[in-house]
Amino acid sequence: MSDVNNNIKSKGRVLVAMSGGVDSSVAAALLKEQGYEVIGATMQVWDYSSCDIEEGNGTCCSSIDVDDARSVADRLQIPFYVLNCEAKFKAAVIDPFLKAYLEGKTPLPCVNCNTYLKFDHLVRKMKELECDFLATGHYAQILNDDEGRPHIFTSEDSWKDQTYFLFTIEPEIIPQLLFPIGHLNKPQVRELAEKFKLTNAKKKDSQGICFVGNKGYGQFIEEHVDRKTLDLRAGLIRRYPEGRVMAKHPGIHLFTYGQSKGLGMDHHEKLFVIKIDADTNTVWVGDEKDLFKNEVEVVDTHLLSQINDGETLNVKIRYAHKGSLAKVFKTEKGLRFEFAEPQRAITPGQAAVMYREKQLLGGGWITL
């Protein structure tokens, strides 16, 4: 009766978060092949009816993707459900995303989606549906330490590794998590998709942030924040460090640290956004050398394993960052990192995530 996939002996029941992309589809297929009883679920997080996503070119959560996930579930003959998470997604991901831009930060919505939806809402669904595990298509691995305790480690595919987005996971749920493709690289995952004859085997990788679509951040923010609020964020562009006024700008939400294109100024030298001061709505621009810093402080830290004060760890300050060695120190509000090499464009709103070799230890939110 409870045996949904007619397996004679099941390794347990797994709820697989299926986005409709290749990675989570192959994750589901592998689990089915390994003898798990698999249930697929897609989170409907955003109303895409007004998005400008081209057909067959969906990003990670468009409505086309729900159909793709469903077709994979059909192919694997597993039960499949669409969970409506629009309200939760708006409150936990979209609203903080908009707020961060208005505060001169560059937000990281994928972490909030993981914190409040994938590894919270779906964990609850997993329990409600009497599943033993929750699986996702993240490029990450769960490996046991010498004492047999599971921890999160980086993916075999260092290019695709997504552990940066996982630093807020609660350590106590790790024993119930499965990352079935973390030991593979992307070409291998695509090969498996072909082998399993999954309809989305050739689908493009998702790029950027799923709900923004092809319009770009600026337009997304302007469509979702009222004009009055945006106008309050207009201000001046000043030359760093002396403070000479270079131009006016229509809103600090249009800028990010390190940006050099689209500054809307007539200037001959190559300038970069060095700093965004939300209190005065000032965007500071200057030479690239002024973008480099040796230190960063983080708040709202989350630890998956113990760290030692003064320990040298590998620290990533953005997803695409390879990681740099830094000494870590505990502070009143969180942690301070002292990098061995100066780092370019350390950006408030992004996370600094720590690793001991390949093990994910936790991280915190970069602040000024």
């Binding site: 009766m1 409870s2 045996d3 949904v4 007619n6 249930i39 409907q44 039960p79 459900y81 669409v82 969970l83 409506n84 629009e86 309200a87 609850r124 669904k125 329990k127 409600e128 549906l129 009497e130």
Partner: protein, 402 residues
């Protein structure tokens, strides 16, 4: 083999074994019924027999039967046809319906409102009573059409159509009743009801999807929604869905079974409700005191999320629904349940069980057993439930102390 138990007959019914075993006869007749030659004549005969069967089943004349593609089309046809006929009338331009109608009725009336029509919506209270006082107040010689369903899809509640028709006719208004849910579940006497129009759907009565009926009483004019080649006496264009109509004609022959089946299904439904109310705490049956369809039970299980409950039951092989089938995937609770006065929370904790002719006592018992354990499991995981339980325990301890 995984067991499948289907308790969602208000969404659709399984195709009967009779229809399944004889479908090939309908498939073999492929001619266009409008053709003059032998091939067309065969299919024309198929339509004639089916029309006669349906007319007999409903106690009306074959000329009063218009085949459509289903309930939504039939509802739209009546509402828009009457609007077309009366839109320029200065004396008769108002419509009356209820807040708990099928979306095809509510949607058509919302559209009419954009075209300038005045539509009155009658409320239904928590006991399942339609607001007859309001009805009498708004019903007048201005009323073109009254449109109230015979039985509600979500709660199964029955409305006093006969009484309402008499009042409508007294002021010269026409009356349309969406009979999709009552058809095949309770004996039906259209002549006695007195309605001018009524809608039916084949797939709610163990036949194929894509065929339906619009009953249009002799003397009531119907303008086509779909203009075409003059089929259905110029009341519905397009080549007929002969296979679907054939299947409905076969089931129409079984209409005499309905009263007997209704009793059997009602006994099962009552057994189901009795067990659930006795064994699971904090459950209410919506409209439990009202006259209801014999197969339908709309339950509110407090502190249980309906969507999750549905999935949990589905994983175990049981098919039920929350509210209407159209609402799945929607974050909003069923508008029909909100309309009868349930809170958002109650509507989101609702589940509809709708039994059918093939349902058995063993299935019902197995369902209640499973429901019991699933509800307990879900409540255990619900922090709100734990809190309210704690409060109750504390309150009772306090009482004892006093």
């Amino acid at each position: 083999m995984k067991k499948h138990i289907y308790f969602d007959h208000n969404a659709t019914t399984p195709v009967s074994t009779k229809v399944l075993s004889r479908l090939h006869e309908g498939v073999a007749l492929w001619g266009n019924p409008s053709s003059i030659h032998w091939a067309g004549q065969q299919t024309k005969t198929l339509l004639r027999v089916a029309r006669q069967n349906v007319a007999t089943a409903l106690g009306v004349s074959p000329l009063e039967i218009i085949f459509t593609n289903g309930g939504s089309e039939s509802n739209n046809t009546v509402i828009k046809s009457l609007f077309q006929q009366f839109k320029n009338s200065e004396t008769r331009n108002e419509y009356i319906t209820s807040t708990v109608e099928h979306p095809s009725v509510l949607g058509a009336f919302r559209y009419l409102e954009t075209q300038g029509a005045v539509v009155h919506f009658l409320n239904v209270d928590l006991q399942g009573n339609i607001d007859l006082a309001h009805y009498k107040k708004v019903l007048s010689e201005k009323t073109v059409l009254v449109c109230v369903m015979a039985a509600n899809n979500e709660t199964g509640v029955l409305f006093p159509i006969e009484e309402m028709v008499k009042l409508a006719h007294d002021v010269g208004a026409k009356f349309h009743s969406d009979c999709v849910q009552i058809f095949g579940k309770l004996p039906l006497d259209l002549k006695k009801m007195g309605v001018d129009f009524a809608s039916f759907s084949a797939h709610k009565f163990y036949s194929l999807k894509g065929a339906g009926v619009l009953y249009s009483k002799k003397g009531s004019e119907i303008l086509p929604l779909i203009h075409g080649g003059g089929q259905e006496r110029h009341r519905r264009g397009g080549t007929e869905n002969t296979l679907g109509i054939f299947s409905l004609g076969l089931m129409a022959e079984e209409i005499s079974e309905v009263s007997k089946k209704a009793l059997a299904v009602e006994a099962l439904r009552n057994h189901l409700e009795k067990r659930i109310l006795a064994e699971i705490s904090e459950v209410t049956v919506t409209h439990s005191g009202a006259k209801r369809l014999p197969n339908t039970s709309s339950l509110v299980l407090s502190d249980v999320d309906g969507e999750t409950l549905l999935m949990s039951l589905d994983v175990k092989g049981f098919a039920v629904s929350t509210g209407a089938a159209c609402s799945s995937g929607s974050p909003e609770p069923s508008p029909g349940l909100l309309a009868v006065g349930l809170t958002r929370e109650q509507a989101q904790s609702s589940m509809r069980v709708s039994l059918g002719w093939e349902s058995t006592l063993e299935q019902v018992d197995e369902f209640v057993d499973t429901l019991n354990s699933v509800v307990e499991h879900l409540r255990d995981l619900n922090p709100n439930y734990k809190k309210s339980k704690m409060k109750q325990v504390l309150a009772s301890q306090l009482k004892e102390k006093r």
